[in-house]
Structure formats: structure tokens, C-alpha cells
Symmetry: D2
Subunit: 368 residues, 4 copies
């Protein structure tokens, strides 16, 4: 404990138990009440207190098990054929970190799921395969590796892989634990497949032009009208920025996926970012509120999170809990490395809860 965080100072609860007080507490307890000073120091921590631990899930460990699921259960039986990743300290809420869920979904050529919707929002980052697609509110969108797609709150959605494609694997991210915690989730199944109302890829073809929006339509939904952020456009944008920017000391070249009609986060409860670590780059350490799930989209390196080293390469997934120091290293001296991440920043920011702190020494010591 930092010496400045001393619960014996004026302004903290410093009451000693006595028999009289214990009798008093018992009386309160019978009325559905308690004495604040018995819990105050615990519920009013000096600094943000994460409940998760840093973890990394290696794709080479998981890939076979994910594929095996496609032999063990059908999409019809499973609803979604997904292996989910769970934080050692968040098993009670099925979260990978904080209130965020993540899983790895596999779909074989010719397979498709039924359509459903829920108050929880979802996003996907494509890991491998060909011919995958998602259908969001009757808009069918084709998926390629490293594409990022969204399935906002209450949109009907279903997925599949075309007959002639190759088995697709993607990472799902959802805020199910959060929406459950806020006692607001719901669920509905669509009767059959959604009819397609627009040509394929309508959303990215109409809203995917940089600095342009269609003049003949109004978008008043609280999420991005751009449902797919194509790696074919995203990676060149990172390269462009890297030509002229120093970038963040903590994150290299970091860009947020944004809603083109607001400049804000893609959805109300989850944001997502893409970042490039330049050859040999070792960022400085900082910590901030908000929970993050990363996937390595390109290259190899490691991150030091809460004093521990986590080595990653393409497709590995790891998490950074709220208020835990972290820094990133690209182990290649010649190639860039790219990290996709998603987070609960829209929640943290809209509720006024964001704060950030640079590591006082620049870098963490790695615990042995």
C-alpha cells in the first residue's frame, strides 16, 4: 500500500468495534440496514480496483479445439458454435475481462446460423477463412481476414459461410456481462432467415468513402451505419499515418474505428481500435480505466501487463484489465506489428469515469 493511502487519516472510517456497536449493527441488520463506516473503506477504494487478471490465450492451443467443436455440435444445436475465453477471476459472469465477453466462432462452408437479436451488442474480427458473411438487419456483408464488423444492440443478425468457401473462424466480442449486470438484456429469435433488403455489402459501399456520406439518406440510429471496416482500407490508413506521425508514446500508431456520421465510437457500449507498432517499437507503460481485449492481427511481440510478460503472435488474444499498467513491444526489427482491440470505453467515457496515469518510471519491471 502506498503510504499516501493510509486509512488512519481523517476522512476515512476509523471506528473500532465494541460490544455496544455490535449490538447496534445486529439491530440495523434486522431492518435491512447497516452502518456505512463498517464497509466504507472497502467500497470507497483509493484507486480504481480491477476484478480481472491479465491473461493471454494462444491460438495454437485453441485452434484445434475450436475446429473440433464443429465435429461435436451443429450450429442448430449450439445456437452459436463458439469457444469462449474466460478470465480466471470472472468465471461467475463468463467475462474475458471486466464486463466484456469474447469467444472464437467456427463456421464450415455451407453452414449458417438462424437469426436472433438481443440488447447486448456484438462485434467480430475475422481470423481465417473465405466466403464468410454476416447479415445485419437484412444487410449481407462479406467478410475477409482482419475485417472488423459490428452487430449493434437489437439488430437482427446471423452468419454463415458460402458453399464454396473455406472454414471461417472469427473472434466475437460482446457486452453480454455488462448488459446482464445492468439488468437490461433480452433475446428474440427471428422466424427463419432474414430477407435481404439491400445489395450485398450495401453498408460498406455507401458509407466506406473517407470523408463522404450519402446525401440522400438520414441515419439516426445510435450506432455506425458502416458495418464493416475492411482491412484493405484500414491497413493502408495505418501505413499513411505512420509516415507522418510520431504516434502515442503508449500505443504507437493508434486509431479508433469510428461512426462516420458522429466521429464517435462505433456502438454505444463497445469501442474498437487498431494500432501499429513500428519495427522495434517498445512503448511506454501507462494505465487507465476501461477493459480491453486484444487480438494480434499481424506480426509478433509481447506486452508487459501488470508486471508480467505475455508473448503474442498473429491470432493470439489477450486482455488488459482496468487500471493495470501495460506496454507493448514489437519483436521484429523490420516488420510492423498490428493489434486489434475492443473495449468498454464508450461506457467509461459517457459516464465520466475515464482516467489515465503514465508509469512514473516509463517502463515496468518484469516480475519473475
Amino acid at each position: 500500500m502506498d503510504t499516501k493511502y493510509d486509512d488512519s487519516v481523517l476522512g476515512r472510517a476509523r471506528v473500532q468495534d465494541t460490544p455496544e456497536l455490535e449490538a447496534y449493527y445486529a439491530e440495523l441488520n434486522k431492518l435491512g440496514a447497516g452502518a456505512l463506516w463498517t464497509v466504507a473503506n472497502d467500497i470507497e477504494p483509493w484507486e480504481p480496483r480491477p476484478s480481472s487478471v491479465p491473461m493471454l490465450w494462444r491460438y495454437e492451443d485453441l485452434r484445434e479445439l475450436v475446429l473440433k467443436s464443429s465435429e461435436l455440435v451443429t450450429p442448430e444445436q449450439a445456437g452459436r458454435r463458439v469457444v469462449y475465453l474466460v478470465n480466471d477471476k470472472r468465471r461467475d459472469v463468463s467475462a474475458a475481462v471486466g464486463w466484456l465477453y469474447t469467444g472464437i466462432q467456427v463456421t464450415r462452408p455451407g453452414e449458417s446460423t438462424s437469426a436472433h437479436r438481443h440488447k447486448a451488442s456484438a462485434l467480430r474480427f475475422i481470423m481465417e477463412g473465405e466466403g464468410g458473411y454476416t447479415v445485419v438487419d437484412s444487410n449481407k456483408i462479406m467478410l475477409e481476414v482482419n475485417d472488423f464488423v459490428i452487430t449493434p444492440n437489437s439488430t437482427w443478425h446471423e452468419h454463415g459461410v458460402e458453399e464454396g468457401g473455406k472454414t471461417c473462424i472469427w473472434q466475437d466480442g460482446l457486452d453480454i456481462p455488462l448488459v446482464n449486470a445492468l439488468e437490461a438484456n433480452d433475446y428474440a429469435v427471428f422466424d427463419g432467415k432474414q430477407p435481404l433488403e439491400k445489395p450485398i455489402n450495401y453498408s460498406p459501399l455507401t458509407y466506406g468513402g473517407a470523408g463522404l456520406v450519402p446525401a440522400d439518406q438520414e441515419w439516426n440510429k445510435p450506432y455506425s451505419p458502416l458495418f464493416k471496416y475492411s482491412w484493405k482500407q484500414v491497413y493502408p490508413a495505418l501505413q499513411d499515418a505512420a509516415k507522418v506521425k510520431e504516434g502515442s508514446p503508449f500505443d504507437g500508431i493508434l486509431m479508433h474505428y469510428t461512426n462516420p456520421v458522429t466521429g464517435g465510437h462505433v456502438m454505444q457500449t463497445m469501442g474498437a481500435s487498431i494500432q501499429m507498432l513500428r519495427p522495434g517499437e517498445h512503448t511506454k507503460a501507462h494505465k487507465h480505466t476501461g477493459s480491453f481485449v486484444y487480438q494480434c492481427a499481424k506480426g509478433k511481440g509481447y506486452s508487459i501487463i501488470g508486471g508480467k510478460r505475455f508473448d503474442w503472435k498473429e491470432r493470439d488474444i489477450f486482455c488488459v484489465p482496468s487500471w493495470v499498467y501495460h506496454e507493448h513491444v514489437n519483436l521484429s526489427e523490420t516488420e510492423d506489428a498490428c493489434l486489434f482491440s475492443f473495449n468498454d470505453l464508450p461506457v467509461i467515457e459517457s459516464l465520466g469515469l475515464y482516467q489515465e496515469k503514465a508509469h512514473p518510471e516509463g517502463h515496468q519491471k518484469i516480475e519473475q
Copy 2:
């Protein structure tokens, strides 16, 4: 279970355990993973699922115990001398309902607390006493019965009662459980008392004019510049509205306390409302997402919450959990009844999670 909520339909997880699957689950478990279909139906409920139960705390039960706390501990020892009210199903997070904390604080004439601040936001509703005051970011504000005051996120605050006053009791409302759950709370103690920077009641005297804001200052903080909503202005506004409005079928004459420079909620994480039930009024039942804590500010009546009747009179406190049907009754045929309430609607709304449903039969049956 409603017959339309049938987990055997396509789109829900319907996998039967087999030895092979159990072996598979064990393997996943070792890797910090699991099969989604083993938890999907649980974490994706058909409708919002509250974790709290409706409860009512009678002031006549609590008042003596609250006053007794002022004999048992000093403000210096306790930090805050507060009896908090805790939901039978939320004891783990010290919440009265959902993620909202509430307590009853007592301060005797001449007493005052030290100043502190935290990322959690706070509000107060004055129950009894004279000469009470709060100091928020160096602005001292005098308090009278039924006044509503705010202490937003990260503002320094302290309270007291003037030497010549009468013992003050007020209800505190905080979002501590929420901010802890979001792993974002912090705490700091002010070294001594805050210096007063403005004349007493500066905030309500400059921002308390209806439809007027001072032209010579900019307010860019994310909460209301009006720190006190005086019952002397609020009650006449309810009476005015009652002259010309039918009001809401579910709530009678219901008004939100608002930030005069945005028209929105008073703070980013908690909202508050005041409502008048006209003589004999019995509202219709509905349910919606969001958690609510009520205090009866005037009159007497009862509410039916989740099928149970809770009788209340002045100063009683009760709660309505998310997605639980509720309706209110004024038992007087001649006097109006007024209910103050605070809630987490700013959270629910900014995250896109609000939904509402009228009771199909208008009113609930009371469970015996």
C-alpha cells in the same frame, strides 16, 4: 415461464451432455475457455433479469437508530455517520437496488465533516432539520426539508449543520456500487476544510431562474451548474403542471430534475425526479429497465411492486428494481402525495438499454 420463451426452439442452445463433450469441456477449462452453448441460455435471458427485490424501509423504524449513531460514533471516526439501506439480494455490493447505494445521514448542530471526493457521484434529499449545509467545490449551499442537492463525480464536498440549527437528517444516494463494478472509483481526502470561493447559495441564486442562464460565464462541466433544487420552487412547479396536465398514466405529474444548460439529467450516472399523485390517484402498472430508489416527500399511499403492496408515508424509502411492474396509489382523497426518486437512467439511456412495457391488464393483482 411464458410459453413464448421456450429454450427448445431453434436459436437457443440445445446440446445434451455426452462423455465426449464432457471431456472436451474439461480440456477447454484447462485453457481458460469454455463452450458457449453450456452457458448461452443463462447469459442470454429472454427478458431483462433483475437481481434485486422490492423493499421498503419505514422511517419510523429507522429514525431512532439513525439518531443513535450520533451517540455511538463521531463524524471524525466514521468519516460519514450514515445508516445505509441494503437490498436483501445485493448485500455483496452494499446496494439498495441494482447498483445504487442509499443511506441516511445524521448531523448534529455544530458538527461538520472533513472534505473528500471520489469518482462516484452523490445526491441528497433533506428529511428533517434546520441549518444544514453542504459545501461542493467551495460553494456553500444551505439545505431545507425536501430540497434536492447534488455532489457530482470528483467534486470536493463536505457537510455540516450550523451551531444554532437543529439536528439534520438527509438521504444520501450514490452510485458507488456501479462505479466499483466498472472498476473506476477512487478517493481523496482534502487537507482541512474547503475555502469558500463564492457567496453562500451562489449556485442556486445564479442558475435558479426558470429559463434564464447567466450570460457572463461558461459552464462546460458534465453536470448541472444548479446544485440545489429548492422545494420552495419545485412544489409550486408541480402544482402549476397539475393545473393543466393530465400527466402520465403510470406516474401522475412526473418531472425530471434537469441540468439547465443541457435539459438533460443532473449528473452523468444518476438522475432524479419528483412526482405528484393527485388526490385519489391510482396509476397504471408498467415496468422498465433502470433501478429506482424512492422517498415519500409528502402524503401517504402505497405502491404495488412486483405484485406486493408496500405502504408508505412521509420519509419512508422504497425501491423498484429493473423490469419489475409497479404502480402507485395516493390514499388521500383530498391531499396530493409527492414521491422523490433517484435512478440510474442516465446510464441506461446513454448505453441504449432503456425499454418499457405497460402491464397488459392495466393493474397488477396483489399477491397474498
Copy 3:
């Protein structure tokens, strides 16, 4: 001309005419073109350049003529029986200052006008009389002296005085010259009187509570739902603010009438303010963009505008053009003086054109 404003510097047009150039200009002229450098210095002035002059209209001069209009023409003939005030330099656009129109309207007991609407917005400030009313989009609102009321863009409106009332005179303010200049005005007549949809004074009785908005209705129109700002509430708010504020050095206690659901201006094209000059107060001089029309609501004093002294007392009307220095003086040592004003600040601000400059010496010298 300030020496820093020298058109012989690099960056200004400094081309001398030659026969060759004159021939060139003639050729351009035939094609609907010209050489920019022949007009550049004129159309790119160093500082904002007003086209109006300061003026004051004394009520004692105008009142009899206004009343006389009620003998000369009927409301049916005149549409509106109004004497309008016109700036000596803006007669071509019928403006009192800049692009703002103002007039004085008289209505006798029992008279009423037909209803109409237009894209131009209107506002009124009540000067004398009893029993006056306005009907805005089917809401009837009673008017008293010094009340401020709005008739936003495209709302149906009509006015009258009850049979038992006293002749009413009020000041009208409109943005007709602006909306005409922007080539966007229109006009429609209502067939007969508007049916009343709400009880009398519905708007002020539901939206007139400080810091409160009705919870059961959504307001999504781009103007204030509060149609009347009652002097009975406004004057006490000024007095309250005067107790605790130093006020603006240029304006004393200045408050903007605001839309309670946004905190912004009452309408999209015109704002309005009320200000109190405390006994003996003499404000400092400044100038800023935006055009202003004032009416003295209480007391007596003078303003120095563009170096000229304009004495005013209750009901006198005067104007301050854009970018002209002005300062105000309350001539009473015991009574406060109050000035109502309306302006085009919403235009100036939303287009990014506001700027302000304090007089370098604090006060202007009065030109003789």
C-alpha cells in the same frame, strides 16, 4: 485609419490601373467576370464593418402615433397594426439594425388578428395593457407587462386582447430582413382562428419550473418549449443574481433567456437577454459582432454607442450595431435599471463569427 491597417502592405491588392488592364477588365466584364484585385480590399475589410447607425426611438414620441394607428386602420385591413422602426441606413431592407426588424403593435380590447405563419421568427416584449394574449400553435398564452414571448419559425400565431382588457402595446422583433436576405422566407394564412388544443398557459405552466422538465413528453423542435418568460419570475431571478454576483464589467447582471431543454438560445435565429444595471452602475465599453435592439424595461439611464450618448427611460427602444463600442449607465443612485434586448447572436455564433473587443481605455469619449 489605424496605422496597422495599411493597404500598401504585401498581402493587400496594390495594382495600379493601366490602359491594358482597363481593356482586360472590360473583357472580363462581358463574360460576367471581374478581376478580384479591383474589389478585394473593399470586400475584405480589416475589421467587421457595420452598415447600420446607432439610433434611439423615444416612446413618448411614438406612443400617440402608435395609438393613432388603431383609429386609422383595422387589424383586418392591416394584417398587423404595427409602427415599425427603421434604421437610417437600412431603409432598403426595413431593418432597425443589421438584419433585425422591430415594430410596435397596438391591439384594443376585443380585437384579435387572423392567424398566419412564416419562416421568419418573431418575439414580443409587452409594453403596456391588460388582457393581451397570443396563440402559438394552438396554445393560448396570457401576456403581462415586461413578459417576453416567442413565436418561432413556422408556428401558427395570432394575437388579441380580451373584451374586458385594456389596450395592449408590445414590441415585436423579427428576423424578416435576414430570412429575406437568405432567400428563404415564406408566408401562409390560417383559415380562421386556431382551435385551442391545450389549457391556457399550458407552456409556461409545464416548462416554467426552474431546473425541471416534464418527464412524460419529448420535445424535439428546434426552439424553446417555454413560450413565455414571465417578468414575475425574471425580475426576482435578476435580484437573486445581483445578491451574489459581480456581474459582467460590460453589462452588469446579464442573463440570456434560454431554451430549458438545451440551455441554448430560445430560437435558431434570434436570442434575447435581460440585464440589470445596479444603482449608479456605469459599465465599461466593448464591441462585438452581432446586432442588438434594446428596450428599457425599468428605470432610466443612458448608453454611449459609437461615441454618442443616447438617454433612455422606460419603454424607449434603441439599437447597437455590430462592432460598435457601447457602454451603459444607470442614472439612479437608488433604483436598478433593466434593459431587455434581442439579437442575432444565434446566427453569429452558429456560423463561427462572434468576436469581441474591450475598449482599450475602458470608456469612450462622448462626441460633441
Copy 4:
């Protein structure tokens, strides 16, 4: 005059002159006043009333004269070497249409201008040349044909062509007439050349990624951080949209250039759009408020504006005044045609003055 627009109806001014009234008017006149009913029907038109006429400026007529300016005057003498285009009905305010100015600027290799700034905003659309650049607030940006660049309100700016480039010609668009009319323009010259603070093309390389914004910087200025909209990105976006959209019946595939951090117009006072007319497309006629200046960026065709046919091909410039019917025709059966345009829609929209009307018969008759 439409029969529905009859000034003899109740609700319009219908007063006949009499000797008594004339005497009354003279008396008012002496006081800086007038009788509203003498001007009301004129200042309150039934429909929006444009003051400009449709015009087209053929580039083949103008190009030689524009180039000739570079022999007649130097940038140092002229400030800016520009031929401006002036509407036959707006010569008094040097406007091409409504309150919009446009001109054609020529710069020869090795030439550059000094830097200045003004409250008026500017934009440019590149017509021909190589090696042109603009420097906006110390950011140097290279220009290519059909690129669109902005110079917002109060940014320092200067232009030039690199030594090894080719003579550049571009269209300037400014709101000078509007900002002068609003009495808010100003002007300042920069002492020398702006120092470059960022690498060349910093703005488009950091903000030019579709659906991405840099995470490590805050943009809080009221205009787009993307200063250049490159034809290399814009034209493919039009092609993409044309694959999946029907487009607007009045405009074909029409997209607004937008501020990527707000989704709104690129600047506060002027917007800009790009549209594609597909081979053989003949749009329907409509009219709306707002003034527009077009440049043909690609292809050939004609527009019918206010009943007159205006033929255009690449680089021709034409205007559409407020509330004048217009429709566009692509004369090629095999190639698309593209029209760039800029407008005062941000003004019209933010002031609540937009309205639109489809032609009742779909198309206009061409007047002979």
C-alpha cells in the same frame, strides 16, 4: 401569380392610401418609423424569393483570360491573382449566387502568395496543373486535379506551385459576401511565410482513413480536420455507391464531403458535395432553399435551371439560386458525369430555413 397567393385575402395588408394616411406616414418617417402595412406584403413574400439568376461560365471562354492575368499582374501586387465570377443580379456584393463568391485563381510554377487570414471561409477545387500546394495553419498540402481542399474561418493560408510543377488553376469558393453582410469579416496578413509544423500532407494522411480517427489527439475546432478530399479516394467511393444505390431522383449519386469527427458539413458556413450522373441519367426537377455553385469535374451534359438549359462540360461553372427548379442530364450514354458543388447549406440548415419541393410534373419545360 399562383391563385392561392392572393394579397386580397384576410391576413395580408390591404390598406388603401388616403390623404390622412399619407400625412400619418410622413409623421412616422420623421421619427425613423413607418407603417408596417405599407411594406408587409413585400417583406413577407408567399414563397422564398431569390435575388440571383441562373448563370453558366464556360471555361473555354475564361481560361485564356485567367492565364493572361498571370502576365498582367504579380501575386505580390494582386494579393491573389483571381478572376471572379459575378452574378448579373449580385454585382453589388460581388457574389456568384446568393451570398457566395467564386473565382478562378492561377499560379505559375515557382510562384507563391503571402499568408493571410479572415473570418470568411474558403475552399478550392483543383482544375488543372501539377505541383500546386496550399498551406493551412502551417500544414502544407499537395493538390491534384479534382481534389477538394478547405481553408476554414480564421486559418492562416497561402498557396503556391513548386518550381518543377505546371501552371495551376483552381476554383476558389468563399462566403465573403455573407460574412460581410453579417458585418463580421476581418483580415490580417501574416508576417512572411508560415513555418511548417507538420510533415507534408499531415492532415489527409492522418484523417483520410475511412471510419478511422487518430486516437491520440483531440480535435475541437468547428471545422473538419481533414483539409483535403482527394479525387483518388472520392471517385472510387462514387463508383462503389453507384454499384448498390438507386440514388436520389433529383441528384443521382450525391455525397456530401463531411467532417470525419462530426459527420457534418466541412465548415460552419459552406458545405460541398460531389455527385455522379450515371450514363444517360436525367434527374427529376426540384427546388429548395440554399445557393449552389457547380463545377463539372468529369463528362458533359446540361442542367435545366429555372426553365433554361445550360450545357456544361468539364471545368464549366454554373450556379443554381435558392428556390429555383433544377434538374441535371448526363449526355453520354456510356460515361458517367460528375459535378462538384459548394453551397451555403450549413447556414440554411443551422438557422432552420431549409425547405424543398419536387416539381409537380417531374420535369420543367424548357423556355425558348
